[in-house]
């Protein structure tokens, strides 16, 4: 899939865990480079896409350390020796470069802005690359990530509003599950955030202090 700013986006639906895996690559005749985001599975189709385009994998971005988003990591690392970027220091027994909230990384030609959005998991991160937002499970079309407690739900909703919805203009939302969306559409139609808004001021004053 060709994409803006001389980028090429490949979407793959992993039947293991029903997750979305993405390969974001540069275009051009030679020296093509790519990032893999959430290798929930690593099958022939993805490898063929990488090989056919002669990509050098510059990095593997992990939105959170849940098995359905990282199950393909071991296979991927057997083929490509690329560094892993995650909030957690270790993913599937592989050492990762730790990323922090508001980090601005330069991975090959890719400028990556890290936004920590905990709630679904404590290590949930959103990666902004150009006008693309790889949101993992924190935000998907019309929904937000499942949390283990109402506290987690509130923390997540606040982080989404403060860090994602406050971004200026529109962005393409590429979630870990389900179809794509845009920030404009999520600002208007996110059912789960509407629900959390109803109880926003009724609980967790501590969380409000944090954000």
């Amino acid at each position: 899939m060709s994409w803006k700013n001389n980028m090429r986006l490949y979407f793959h639906y992993c039947l293991f865990g029903f997750t979305n895996c993405f390969v974001l690559g540069t275009e051009g005749s030679e020296g093509r480079e790519a990032l893999v985001i959430d290798p929930g599975c690593m099958d022939e189709k993805i490898v063929n896409f990488i090989e056919k385009n002669e990509y050098t994998i510059r990095g593997i971005l992990i939105t959170h350390d849940h098995v359905n988003h990282v199950h393909g990591l071991k296979t991927l690392r057997k083929i490509y020796d690329a560094p892993i970027y995650a909030v957690n220091h270790e993913i599937c027994e592989h050492r990762a470069t730790i990323v922090h909230d508001e980090d601005k990384l330069q991975i090959g030609p890719f400028s990556v802005h890290v936004l920590s959005v905990p709630g679904h998991s404590s290590d949930s991160a959103v990666y902004q690359i150009g006008h693309l937002l790889f949101t993992g499970d924190a935000l998907s079309a019309g929904l937000v990530g499942r949390t283990a407690s109402s506290y987690g739900t509130t923390i997540q909703a606040m982080a989404i509003r403060k860090k994602l919805f406050s971004l200026p203009g529109n962005y393409t939302v590429l979630p870990g599950h389900g179809p794509p969306s845009s920030l404009d559409a999520e600002r208007r139609f996110n059912f789960a955030l509407e629900e959390s808004e109803k109880v926003r001021n009724q609980r967790v004053p501590f969380a409000q202090d944090i954000w």
Binding site: M1, S2, W3, K4, L9, F11, Y13, F18, A141, G142, L143, T172, G178, P179, P180, S181, S182, D184, A185, R188, F189, F191
Partner: protein
């Protein structure tokens, strides 16, 4: 002749927002990474067209034919559809959240993993469809038929 210009063409990375298209034949057209948000399409033909990672958010479709189209990983969030047909289409991983769908037919279509959250569907048929893993949360439905459709793992929570 204007209506034939787009027929069977491949369009990549086009950003064409806030435009009006009337009576255009987009049949067999292939859209990759395109954005047509806030545009209006009336009496356009999209039969056997192909969409990947394309965005038609807040667009308006009136009397359009999407029969046998292959639309995957694309978004029509906030769009409105009136008198449109999607017969025999692949509508997999498609975002219809916040959309208004009236007098449309989706018969014999595959809507696997698509979402209709906070949307409104009226006088429309989804007969013999696969709606496995599709989400119809807070979807207002009136005179909608899912007869003979596979609703396994689909989530229906009708707005009260």
């Amino acid at each position: 002749m204007v209506s034939e210009i787009f027929k069977g063409v491949v369009t990549k990375d086009l950003c064409a927002e806030n435009l009006r298209f009337q009576g255009i034949d987009f049949s067999h057209h292939r859209f990759f990474g395109c954005t047509f948000s806030h545009s209006v399409f009336s009496m356009c033909v999209f039969t056997e067209s192909f969409f990947r990672v394309s965005f038609f958010e807040f667009a308006e479709f009136i009397d359009c034919d999407f029969s046998k189209s292959d639309i995957q990983f694309s978004s029509f969030a906030g769009a409105s559809f009136a008198d449109c047909t999607f017969e025999g289409s692949e509508l997999v991983h498609v975002n219809f959240n916040g959309s208004t769908i009236s007098d449309c037919t989706f018969n014999n279509s595959n809507l696997y993993n698509s979402r209709f959250i906070s949307s409104r569907i009226e006088s429309s048929d989804l007969i013999d469809c696969n709606v496995k893993k599709a989400f119809f949360i807070k979807t207002r439905q009136e005179r909608v038929s899912f007869k003979s459709s596979n609703t396994a793992e689909a989530i229906f929570e009708l707005e009260e």
